[in-house]
């Protein structure tokens, strides 16, 4: 695949960050093996009850092989193994494309396997690797450009959708929702939650900062370069903040992985 340097650099960076993300994601599943056993929260015996074809028939039998241990553990090990092969430069050409396609396939299979416990970062992971696979198999500069623009637009859509939804809610506008979610055990940070509860004006200001960032994000395409860089930094800071305060580590990684596509798209203007 011969691509202009700007495309090749962006794709290489997206791939590297994305592979780091799926490696961490797989390792997190495997770090708590009891949760993916049939005795755990993510028991396949229970997860498959959502569809009759997952319970009986030839497809169900096939899924059981890959979605129950030891198949599931092997499935989760595939992505870190491929990440290592690519990191050491052991795959080139069609082999590289095939391996990224396998990563994409495993990433979407993980979404089939786990109907709960996933979040928006897993969605972004699936979108990134399916798009990279398509780019690699077609292998032309035009295909790379289309894929990178697509990832950019998905990133902008994510901010737009979330921003306008927040703007409609009084609790987001007055800052109470931010203070409350940061006070929760699941997504909160005890000290930050307490501080924002005690300082509602700060919570309101931060809440409006998030809303403003998300709703105004597409203006990045018309801003002068230094201002666009500032908006990108603010976007990344938002994800780092959610990682630190809410423990959403894969949000930082997978949304961060889409930023090289955005930087490339800005360079087209």
């Amino acid at each position: 695949m011969n691509l202009p340097a700007s495309q090749a650099d962006a794709i290489r960076l997206i791939e590297a960050i994305g592979l780091l993300g799926v490696t961490i994601s797989s390792a997190e599943w495997l770090a708590k093996p009891q949760q993916i056993r049939n005795s755990g929260v993510f028991s396949w015996d229970v997860c498959r009850l959502r569809a009759a074809w997952m319970v009986e028939g030839p497809i169900a039998a096939g899924l059981t092989v890959i979605f129950e241990n030891p198949g599931l553990t092997l499935l989760l090990l595939v992505r870190p193994a491929i990440a290592a092969v690519i990191a050491f430069g052991l795959a080139t050409g069609w082999m590289h494309a095939a391996l990224i396609t396998v990563v994409a396939l495993v990433t979407v299979l993980v979404r089939v396997r786990f109907p709960m416990g996933l979040d928006g970062s897993d969605q972004m992971a699936g979108i990134i690797f399916v798009t990279l696979s398509l780019i690699y198999w077609i292998g032309t500069p035009r295909a790379a450009q289309l894929g990178l623009i697509f990832l950019t637009l998905q990133l902008c859509l994510s901010y737009q959708a979330a921003g306008w939804l927040k703007l409609r809610e009084r609790g987001w506008r007055d800052g109470t929702y931010l203070a409350r979610v940061l006070s929760s055990g699941a997504y909160g940070h005890a000290a930050a939650g307490r501080y924002l509860t005690d300082h509602p004006s700060l919570s309101r200001m931060l809440s409006w900062s998030v809303i403003a960032l998300e709703t105004s994000f597409p203006i990045v395409f018309v801003l002068p370069p230094f201002a666009a860089a500032g908006l990108l930094a603010a976007g990344l800071a938002f994800h780092v903040g959610t990682g630190l305060l809410m423990g959403l580590n894969t949000f930082v990684i997978f949304f961060g992985a889409a930023y090289p596509a955005l930087a490339y798209s800005l360079g087209l203007l």
Partner: protein, 189 residues
Amino acid sequence: MAASEWILAGILGAWLLISAIGQINVSEPRSVYQRIRQWDLFGLIPIWTFFAPRPAWTDYHLLYRDRLEDGTVSPWTEVVPATGRTPVQALWNPAKRERKAIIDIVRTLTREIQDGRGDLSEEFPFAGRTAQHLPAKIFTSLGYLALLHVVSRIPRLGTPSETQFLVMQTDVAESGEPEVLILSAFHSL
């Protein structure tokens, strides 16, 4: 453009369009996304909400207790106890999946209870409801079975004959006092 590039443009364009349409009224029970999701086996159509419209500030606690063969009942034990936030979790947070799963399952179950009782309109109006008050079909619902499965498969030292689960909710920003959300019946082990 080559034919393959036209096909790619079509695929990515359609994907983006469906993704955008899926965001319309996403918080409504009969949103476009809910209809799309039935066909989106691989979860490739995203729902981009980032904690909107209402973030999950309620914490759910899944507990269980056993009835032994001599009739005595064990104390309540929490299945996934909450842990404090640490900076390391910005890089490595394996516990988040299990906790999110409990939230997802409880939310599914409360929705199933709500669907079974049309007169309940608040988000979580079931506080204080015991198994006797739950609609009968809830006992075979995916959410109920999932929670029962989790507590039933926990290794025990003794040989209890029955187990019961309890879902409690807390809202630190409010009183912080735990409140009973769902209390199951006793089920044979």
